[in-house]
Amino acid sequence: MSIKTLTGMAAVAGVLTVVGVSAPAHAATLDDIKSAGELKCGINTGLPGFAFTDDKGNWTGFDVAYCRALAAAVLGDPDKVKWVNLTGKNRFPALASGEIDVLSRNTTWTFSRDVDLGFTFVGVNYYDGQGFIGRKALGVSSAKELDGASVCIQTGTTTELNLADFFRINNISYEPVPIETNEEARKAYEAERCDVYTTDASGLAATRSTFPDADAHMVFPEIVSKEPLGPLVRQGDDQWADVARWVLNALINAEELGITQANVDELAKGTENPEINRILGSEGSLAEMLGLEKDWAVNAIKAEGNYAEIFERYLGKNTPLGIERGLNALWKDGGILYAPPMR
């Protein structure tokens, strides 16, 4: 997510410069995890749909589910995860210092994070982008018609910069209403201190669901920035990056091949489809190449289901957030989710 990108980067860059070391590359993260018997996963301190606590105090959500699947693939048990909750500022130092093995915290894949900060993004698990929400009573159907509108915006974020770009490109004027935190911005919009409110589209869905009169508000179709969110690991341990990458790909391919939490055990016994057999380990030697047990993908899928099941459970239409698959649908369903083949 774009929020606090700049400060986060500055913090990491600062720490690394002051200390005078580059990110330490722990050569065998996978072995460390196996011997420790737990995966250290960095998640958000609370983001609707992506990371939150249930009534029993367990962490759950879309980003959390990925780590549970990863732990199941590596250790055979989705509960063997130590959750490390991170803010926008300390997420990168935590990964760089080895306090966590993988960061699954709605982090936007950008050039500088990948190249300059010394991390490896293992893929994209959610294609987000900045959008607008406004009252239907405005009589506007597109963000491009918002000439002269007042916009609630969280300060010091890339959303602020994206907003300025969007209005400049479309040659229309706006009046920013700068606000410190997301929650305050939501309240300000609700109190009609601004005509529209802008943040990442997934956040807008969560915001809309809190309004008592949700139907009086609409999310405009324009998405003004690219925010591909995905898990990342430290650069320099390609084996571990491969494991993290192919667990994510396995979940996406499982959706494509129709492998679900319910039927995975049945399918693991062997099917007519060689690709399913390769993923689930009844054929081929993918597991050995990764350095994992034969049933790694079975366990990963059993943890929380395939990509579609995870999406629908935490973000989808039947949840209070009610987010459409949109870009996050499989490539053959009109989205851009496309995992490489597993052979």
């Binding site: 720490v15 609370g46 939150f52 939501r186």
Partner: protein, 372 residues
């Protein structure tokens, strides 16, 4: 005949003693003296009353009259008022964090045992004061054992990252308060020491720590330390927080106490020396009792600040009561209930901080022996 009579008044002619006019005593007198003494005060009183009249009924209506108190999620809250349905499901998390629910009795026991541990220090003439003082020396070890377990295999081990909610605020706050007072006293004395090494160290520590925000210290303990330490050395994060909070509060405490030390007339130091008391004796018997007494408001001020600072632990991924509230309102079932949760959290902090402040006022009155 016309002999001048000595002047005297017949007591029967005198006006009887009367109660003071009703406008000068009782509630009306109080109102006149405090709220309507002149036109500025009258105006301010009326404005304040008007604001209260606007705010209080609507708050009561929101918080109680039209509030929903039961339900499985926020969709069960259908009225316009507050939604307290989460209290039923989440109160355990707010109080104990992620502590295993079958073990929370250990936190309760630790809190109950806190009463006999604190009583001999806070209240006069508690029965068995001497024995209770010994108990309060043992208490930190006992409480640690109760919270973390392990050691003798009697209690199941619970790692400290499970500690959260109000229990975490209390643990960090109490440990910080108990440790920062002695450390602050030592630093304050060190700053006035005649030995340059001790003085320089104290000044350096105080100024360095006071010069940075607490949040920076927490970041340093969390982000920079692990880069220097070998990867297998893991400092417990609650201990890291307690160390940093204590260091931070001690620096402020030292300055508060230095203020007290400087207010003691030089004659007291000289008198102590003249009686043949050594440095430690004169400090313990003459100087510190007076200096600490006049520093009480400042000391308690630092305590209250420290207690409220415990909410900063969220930046290193620990969930105090405020962090638990934020994590809860991220759950789609409870989205958007931030007003309710913040009011609830504020109530906890108010009770603790207000009690500390009242106690310190009582203590000041009790010890106020020289300015009566």
């Amino acid at each position: 005949m016309d002999q001048p009579q000595p002047f005297h008044r017949n007591p029967a002619d005198m006006l009887p003693e009367r109660a003071p006019p009703i406008t000068a005593t009782g509630p009306i007198g109080w109102l006149r003296a405090n709220l309507f003494s002149n036109w500025v005060n009258t105006l301010l009183t009326l404005v304040a009353l008007y604001i209260l009249w606007l705010a209080i009924p609507s708050f009561i209506d929101w918080a109680f009259l039209s509030a929903d108190i039961t339900g499985e999620d926020r969709f069960a809250c259908t009225s316009d008022g507050a939604c307290w349905a989460w209290l039923d499901q989440r109160i355990g998390q707010f109080l104990y964090g992620f502590y295993p629910s079958d073990q929370t009795w250990r936190i309760n026991v630790a809190v109950v045992l806190l009463i006999p541990a604190l009583a001999p220090w806070l209240i006069d003439n508690v029965p068995g004061q001497r024995w209770l003082r010994w108990f309060s020396v043992v208490y930190p070890i006992l409480a640690t054992w109760l919270l973390v377990g392990g050691w003798f295999g009697i209690l199941e081990e619970v790692t400290t990252d499970n500690l959260g909610g109000f229990a975490l605020n209390l643990t960090v706050g109490l440990a910080g308060i108990v440790l920062s007072l002695p450390v602050g006293i030592i630093l304050a004395l060190g700053r006035q020491s005649r030995l340059p090494l001790i003085r320089w160290f104290s000044i350096g520590f105080i100024e360095a720590v006071r010069g940075v925000p607490l949040i920076t210290l927490l970041f340093v303990s969390n982000i920079i330390l692990p880069i220097f330490l070998p990867p297998d050395v893991a400092l417990d994060s609650v201990i890291r927080v307690i160390v940093m909070v204590t260091a931070f509060a001690s620096a402020y405490m030292a300055e508060v106490i230095r203020g007290g030390l400087q207010a003691i007339p030089k004659g007291q130091y000289e008198a102590a020396s003249a009686m043949g008391l050594g440095y430690w004796q004169s400090m313990r018997l003459i100087i510190l009792p007076q200096a600490l007494k006049i520093s009480i408001p400042g000391i308690v001020n630092t305590f209250i600040g420290l207690f409220k600072d415990t909410t900063l632990v969220i930046v290193i991924g620990l969930f105090d009561i405020l962090g638990i509230a934020n994590a809860m309102v991220s759950n789609p079932d409870w989205l958007g209930l931030s007003s309710e949760t913040y009011v609830f959290v504020a109530l906890f902090f108010f009770v603790v901080c207000f009690s500390m402040s009242r106690y310190s006022m009582r203590l000041e009155r009790k010890l106020d022996t020289d300015r009566r």
